[in-house]
Symmetry: C2
Subunit: 739 residues, 2 copies
C-alpha cells in the first residue's frame, strides 16, 4: 500500500467511513518538512498565558458579561491537561432564531450522536435487505410491462418472444449478480462502480461511472416517487392536482428520515418491503394454483395489430426496456461498509438473497402474465391487471396495489443510501467538494442527502411528476456504471491472476458485454425521447469533477509545507527581529534571492507596518487606533478626504488629539473611499514588498439586520477590495452598540 501514490491510496484502500476523513494525516515527508521548518522558528513569545486555556481554574460559572450572554464554560469538560471535550450544548447556536431552529431540528431528527457512535450505526442483514433492495424489487412492478410494451408493437404474435427474452434477462440478472458477488470480497471496503472502475480502468472511467450513477440516483428518486404518487392518484383520482406537492412532501419525508441516521432509516422501511414481497409471492401462489387448475394451459392473448415489423432492433429495445428491472442491483456493493462485521460476507449474503428474490419475482410474474394472456393497455398497469384477474374479489387486490405504491415510494430510499456515500468517496479523492466528507451531527452525510433531495425535487417539479417523461432518461446511467464496473473487474482478475482468475474474468466479461449491449441499445433507442440529456450530462459532470480535482490539487500544492531556504541555518545567531521597528532597508539576507512570500512563514522575519484608515475621529476609530498602537509596531493612520478644506479640518482635529500616530491624508476629489484607499495600500506594498501591512479597521456591530442599509459598511467593502493583495492582513476591531 505504501508504494502507491496518495490518490490511489485514498480511492482504493481507505474506503472506511470515518469522522476524521476531513482531517487527513500528514505523510512522513510532510512531517519531516514540518520538523525542518520548526527548527528555523524563533519565538520570543512567553508560554505563560494571561488566562488558563484549560478553563480548569474557572469551574464555577462566571457572572454574565456586559452583553448578558452567559459564558458556557460548563459546556466543556477538561479531559487531559491540554484537551477539552465540547459537550453537546457547545454546539448550540448563539442567536435566538438559531436556537429555535436548532430545537426544531432536534425534535425532527433526534439529538446529535457522538463520533464514537459511528460503529453502532451498522445494519443487520435483515434490516439491510429491505433498505437496500426496495429499489431493485420495486422495479418488477414496471419491468415486465416495459418489456411487453415494446414487444407488442410488433403485434400479438411477437409476444411469443416474451419467455426467451425474460430468460435472457434472468441470465443477465444472474450474471451481474455473480459479478458483484465476486466484486464484494475483492473490494471489502466498498465495491461501487466508481471505485472498481477507477481502480482498474483509470480515474476517467471511475468518474464516468460516478456521473452515470449520480444521474441514476437522482432519477431513481424522481421516477420512483412519480410512479408511487401515480399509483396513489390512480386509486384516489381526487388527489391528481396535488401530484407535485405530494411528491415533494414525500421526498422531504425521505430526507428527514435519512437525516436521522442509518439505523432509524432502516427501521422505517423494513415492513413495507417485506409486505410487498409477501403480497407478490401470495399473488404468484394463487395465480399458479389457478393455472394448475386448468393444467397450465396458456390463455390466448387478445389480438393486437402490429405497428412495427419484428426486427432485431425492436427485440433489443424490448430487452433494454425490460432491463430497467435491474436498476438498484448496485446498491449493496456501494453500501458494504454500512454492514455489521464481517462486512463483505454479510453484504455478499444479502446480495445473493436480493438477486434470488428478484429472479423469483421477475420470472414468476412474467410467466404468470404469459399464462394469463395479459397484454399492456393504457390506463391500467400490467401488475394491476394481473392482481385483478388473480383476486377477482376480496381485499387482496387492494393489498397488492397498496404495497406496490408503498414500495415505489420507498425505492427512492436506496438512492438516499448510496448517493451521499458515493459523494463521500469522490470527495475523499478530491473529485467532489470536501463538504461531502462531513458527517452531520446524526452521523449521516447531511450535505449529500440534502443535495440529492434538492436535485430530485428540481427534476420532479420540472417534469411535473410524470413518470412516462422521466423513464427514457432512466437506466442509461446505471448500465454505464455496470459496464464500466464489470470491465474493471475483468482487468482486476487479469492483473491479480489468483486461482480461477480465467473463470472469474469470463463471468465478469459476459456481464460487461451484456450490460454494454443494454447500455448501447438504451442510449440509441431512447436517444430522442430523452436519453440525450444523460448522454450530454455525463461528460459535463466528468469535466466538472476533473475541474474540482484540479482546483484541490492546486490548493494542495499551494498549501503544501515547503522547507525553509538553505541560507538559514538553525541556531545561526540571534534572529533579525531588531529591524522590526526600524525604518531601515530590508535585511540583507532577504535580498539574496529569498522572496518575501517564503520568509513570511518564519515569525522572526515578519516586518510589520500597521495602517489604520480613519474616516472621522470617534470612539470606534480611537479604539482601532489604540489597538493598532498597542501592537507596538510602526503605525500609520490614513484619512480620506473629499476636498482640501475637509482634509485641513481633519488635520486640525488630529493635532488637537495629540498627533500620536503619523497621519497621511489622501484627498479623493471624486469622493470614492474604497478605491483610492485600496490603491494606496497597493502602492505601499509595491514600494516595500517585504512588509506585512496590517490594516486595522473598526467594525460597528449592528444588532439588527435592517440597520445594515443605514451604514456604508466600509469594513466589509475594504476587506473585499484588499483580499486580492498579497501581504495585506485585515484586522476588524469590533465596536458594539448597546441595546
Amino acid at each position: 500500500m505504501s508504494g502507491r501514490n496518495q490518490d490511489e491510496d485514498r480511492a482504493g484502500g481507505g474506503t472506511v467511513v470515518t469522522p476524521s476523513a476531513e482531517f487527513p494525516p500528514l505523510d512522513p515527508a510532510e512531517v519531516a518538512t514540518l520538523r525542518r521548518i520548526g527548527e528555523h522558528w524563533r519565538t520570543g513569545v512567553p508560554r505563560d498565558l494571561p488566562v488558563d486555556p484549560t478553563l480548569g481554574r474557572y469551574r464555577a460559572r462566571p457572572a454574565p458579561g456586559r452583553f448578558s450572554r452567559l459564558a458556557p464554560i460548563a459546556l466543556f469538560r477538561p479531559d487531559q491537561p491540554d484537551e477539552l471535550v465540547a459537550a453537546e450544548p457547545a454546539n448550540r447556536p448563539d442567536s435566538r432564531l438559531g436556537r429555535g431552529l436548532s430545537r426544531a431540528r432536534r425534535a425532527a431528527l433526534g439529538p446529535p450522536l457522538t463520533s464514537a457512535a459511528v460503529f453502532y450505526e451498522r445494519m443487520r442483514k435483515l434490516v439491510a435487505l429491505p433498505v437496500l433492495s426496495s429499489d431493485l424489487l420495486s422495479s418488477v412492478a414496471y419491468g415486465p410491462e416495459a418489456l411487453l410494451t415494446v414487444l407488442v408493437l410488433a403485434g400479438s404474435g411477437a409476444l411469443g418472444l416474451t419467455l426467451p427474452l425474460s430468460a435472457g434477462l434472468v441470465l443477465l440478472m444472474v450474471a451481474v449478480g455473480i459479478s458483484y458477488r465476486q466484486t464484494i470480497p475483492a473490494y471489502p471496503h466498498g465495491a461501487g462502480s466508481y471505485l472498481v472502475a477507477g481502480d482498474n480502468l483509470g480515474v476517467g472511467a471511475g468518474l464516468t461511472a460516478a456521473a452515470g450513477l449520480m444521474l441514476d440516483y437522482v432519477l431513481t428518486v424522481s421516477v420512483s416517487i412519480a410512479a408511487g404518487v401515480h399509483a396513489i392518484t390512480s386509486a384516489l383520482p381526487g388527489l391528481t392536482p396535488w401530484t407535485v406537492p405530494i411528491g415533494v412532501l414525500v421526498i422531504l419525508l425521505l430526507l428527514a428520515g435519512n437525516l436521522r441516521g442509518v439505523r432509524t432509516a432502516g427501521n422505517i422501511f423494513v415492513l413495507p418491503t417485506y409486505a410487498f414481497v409477501a403480497a407478490i409471492v401470495g399473488l404468484l401462489a394463487v395465480g399458479y394454483l389457478r393455472a394448475a387448475g386448468r393444467g397450465f394451459a396458456p390463455v390466448a392473448p387478445p389480438a393486437v395489430p402490429a405497428a412495427e415489423g419484428l426486427g432485431l432492433l425492436l427485440v433489443l429495445r424490448a430487452f433494454a426496456s425490460g432491463a430497467v428491472s435491474m436498476t438498484g442491483i448496485e446498491a449493496v456493493s456501494n453500501a458494504v461498509p454500512a454492514f455489521r462485521p464481517t462486512e463483505w460476507r454479510n453484504a455478499r449474503t444479502t446480495l445473493a438473497w436480493m438477486v434470488g428474490m428478484l429472479v423469483v419475482l421477475f420470472a414468476g410474474l412474467t410467466l404468470l402474465i404469459h399464462l394469463d394472456g395479459l397484454v399492456p393497455r393504457a390506463g391500467e398497469t400490467l401488475l394491476s391487471q394481473l392482481a385483478r384477474v388473480t383476486f377477482p374479489t376480496g381485499p387482496w387486490y387492494a393489498v397488492v396495489q397498496t404495497t406496490t405504491a408503498l414500495i415505489l415510494l420507498l425505492a427512492a430510499n436506496t438512492a438516499f443510501n448510496d448517493f451521499p456515500r458515493l459523494l463521500f468517496f469522490m470527495a475523499r479523492a478530491g473529485h467532489a467538494p470536501r463538504r461531502f466528507l462531513h458527517l452531520g451531527d446524526r452521523l449521516a452525510f447531511s450535505n449529500g442527502l440534502v443535495a440529492l433531495a434538492g436535485t430530485a425535487i428540481l427534476v420532479f417539479v420540472a417534469f411535473g411528476g410524470h413518470t412516462e417523461k422521466l423513464i427514457p432518461l432512466y437506466a442509461v446511467g446505471v448500465f454505464l456504471a455496470f459496464t464500466l464496473s464489470q470491465s474493471g473487474m475483468v482487468v482486476h482478475w487479469r492483473r491479480h491472476r489468483g486461482s480461477g482468475w480465467r473463470r472469474r474474468a469470463l463471468v465478469n466479461g459476459v456481464g460487461a458485454v451484456l450490460s454494454g449491449l443494454v447500455l448501447l441499445t438504451a442510449a440509441v433507442a431512447k436517444f430522442t425521447e430523452g436519453a440525450w440529456v444523460v448522454v450530454i450530462a455525463v461528460p459535463l459532470l466528468v469535466l466538472l469533477f476533473q475541474r474540482v480535482h484540479r482546483h484541490y490539487r492546486t490548493l494542495h500544492a499551494a498549501l503544501a509545507l515547503q522547507p525553509p531556504p538553505t541560507g538559514h541555518e538553525p541556531g545561526a545567531g540571534p534572529p533579525p527581529a531588531a529591524s522590526e521597528a526600524g525604518a531601515g532597508p530590508p535585511a540583507a539576507g532577504r535580498a539574496a534571492g529569498v522572496g518575501p512570500a517564503e520568509g513570511e512563514e518564519l515569525p522572526q522575519e515578519v516586518r510589520h507596518l500597521v495602517v489604520v484608515p480613519v474616516v472621522r475621529l470617534n470612539r470606534a476609530s480611537l479604539r482601532a487606533l489604540a489597538y493598532a498602537v498597542s501592537l507596538g509596531r510602526p503605525t500609520l493612520a490614513v484619512h480620506l478626504a473629499p476636498e482640501d478644506s475637509e482634509a485641513d479640518r481633519f488635520r486640525e482635529q488630529w493635532r488637537a488629539w495629540g498627533d500620536h500616530v503619523r497621519l497621511e491624508t489622501i484627498v479623493s476629489p471624486y469622493r470614492a473611499v474604497i478605491g483610492p484607499l485600496a490603491h494606496y495600500l497597493e502602492a505601499l506594498h509595491a514600494a516595500a514588498p517585504e512588509l506585512v501591512l496590517t490594516v486595522v479597521v473598526p467594525e460597528v456591530v449592528l444588532r439588527r439586520r435592517w440597520h445594515r442599509p443605514l451604514h456604508s459598511r466600509t469594513e466589509q467593502r475594504l476587506r473585499k477590495a484588499l483580499r486580492a493583495l498579497p501581504g495585506v492582513v485585515v484586522t476588524s476591531v469590533p465596536v458594539h452598540l448597546p441595546g
Copy 2:
C-alpha cells in the same frame, strides 16, 4: 445659530450641498474631549516608518508584483508633505469585470467630476425654468379635464361653475406661488416643505411633509410616464402591448440623464418644455382669434344628463381634482441651492415666471374650452379635442400632441431633481440613510436617483402603466406638504415679527387653509379609489424615518468621544505596559470601577491574547501562526478534533514541528467546528474579560467565484460567529493561490 442644537442647525442653516456633508466636523466640546483623551495616550511606537507613506521617494513606477498587478503609484499626486491627491485612475476597480463595467459607465455617464467642480454645476434661470417647470406645466394637459370630468357628473348645467372654480384655482395658484415667493428668501439655502415645516412646526411635521413629498415624487414619475406613454400609444396603437417596457425604458433613460449631472440633464430638457409652451400659446392665440371672429360668443355644450346632484361635496371634489394642475409648484423651492448665485433671487424670479406661465396656460385653456363648449369624453383628451377644433387641418394638431406627450415624459424629471435633494437634507439630519449624503462621481446624488427610479419602476410595473389607476393616489401627498409648509410659514412670521409680518402671515394663512381644504377633499373623496394607500403609507414612512433617526442617535451616542476616567492623570508615571506580556492579574487601577470597555481606548491598557485556530498544519496555518507569533504577544493555538485519535495524531505533528506555541485541543464529538470554537473563545473572554482576544485566521483567497462551494469558508463563518463577542478582534491572514 450657535445657540441652536445640532439637529436644528443641520435642518435649518446648513442646507448647502457640499461633498463634505458625509464628514461632519466635531463640535468644540468634542474637540476638547479629544484633547483630554490624547493627553492620556502613551505610545511607544516609532514615528519613522519602514516605508515612505508619501510615496514621494518612489516616483518611478515599481516593477510588477508577484501577482502581476501594477502598483498604481502614478495614480497619486503628492500634494503637501502629508497629503496625497488621488488621481482619477485611483478610483478604478481592480477586477476585470469591474473595469469593464466602469468603462461602460464612463461612456454612458461621462468622466468623473472633481469636488471642486461642484460650484459650476449650477443652473442658469433659462435652463432652470424648463428643468423645474416641466412637471407643473405639463399638468395643464390633464388639470382642466380633471375639473370638468367631476363637474359634468351633475349635468351640462353645472358647467357654468367652471369659470368660478377656475378662478378659485388661479387664486390658489397665486396664493401658493406668493407663499413660496415669501418662503424662498426666508430660507435662502433651500425652502422645501420638509425644512420649512420641520423648522417651524417641529420634526414630526417636517417628516410628515417629507413623506408626502416622497410619495408624490414617486407618483409624479409613474403618472407622468404612464400618461406620456399612453399619449404615444394612442397615436401609434401598435405599441400598446409594449406600454410597460417603454415606460421602464424611459425611466431608465431619465435616470441615466440625471446621473450625468445637473447641467447636462438640464440641457436635455430645455427644448421640449419651451416647445410645449409655444405650442399651447399658439393654440390659445389661434383659438381666441377664432372666438373673436364670432364676437366671443360661447358655443353651447352638448346636453349631458346629470348623474349626481350638484352638492357642495361635488364642487369641492371638482376643485380638488382641478388642483392636480398645481403638482410640481414645490420644485423651485427645493432646488434653490442648484441656482447660480444669488441663488434665492434667481429662484424667486424663476418661480414667478413659472406660476405666471401656469396661470396663463391654465386660465387660457379653461376659458377657451368653455367658449368652444367642449366636455370631457371617453377616448380623447380634452386638450386633444381643443386642438382638433382649433386646428382642423395642417400639422398643428400633431405638434400639440407630440409636445404634450414629450413634456409628460419629461415632467418626471422634476422628481429626479427633487427627490435626491430631499433625501440629502433628511440624511443630513439623520432621518434617512447616510448614503444619500454621498455625491456620486458625476456630482449627482446617485443613490437617491437610483432609489427613485427603482421605486417608480416598481409602481409603474405594479399598476401596469395605467394612468387612471395611479391618479387617485396622486396629489394627496403634495397638498399635505403645501399645507404643512404654509402653516409653518405662518408660525415663522409670528415668531420673527419683521416688518409687515401680519400681511405675510395672512397670505400664508390663506394658502394653508386653501391647501388644507384641497388635501381633506382629495383624501376623503378619493379614499376608496386609492388615496387610502397614501393615508396609510405616510405615517408608516414617518415611523420609519423616526426609527432611522433613533438608530443614528444611538450610534452617535455610542461612538461619541468619552473623556478618560479621572483616576488616570496625564504624566502620572510610566504606563502599565509592562504587564502586557505577563500572565499576572489585571492591573489594580483597572479593578477600581474602571470597566474594560473604556480602558480599551488607551493603548497602554490593552492586554493581548492572540488565539490561532488550527485545523491542519499546512502553509496557510503556519503563516497565520508566524504572523501571530511575530506580534510578540502571548499566543495560544487551538485545534478542533472530531475524535480522540485525530487529536492525538495532531498533537504528535505539533511536537514534530517543535511545539513553538502553546496548543489547546478541543475534541468536538459532534463534529461541529464553528460552534465549539466560538463558545470556547467566549469562555476565555468570560474568564478574563480585560483581555483583548485577537483571533488570527488564515483565509485562502479564491480566484474564482465557482470555487467557493468547494471550501468550508471557516474564516467567514467564524468571523460571523465571533462578531457578537465584545473584545474579540478577528484578523485574516490571506493566503493566495497561484494561477
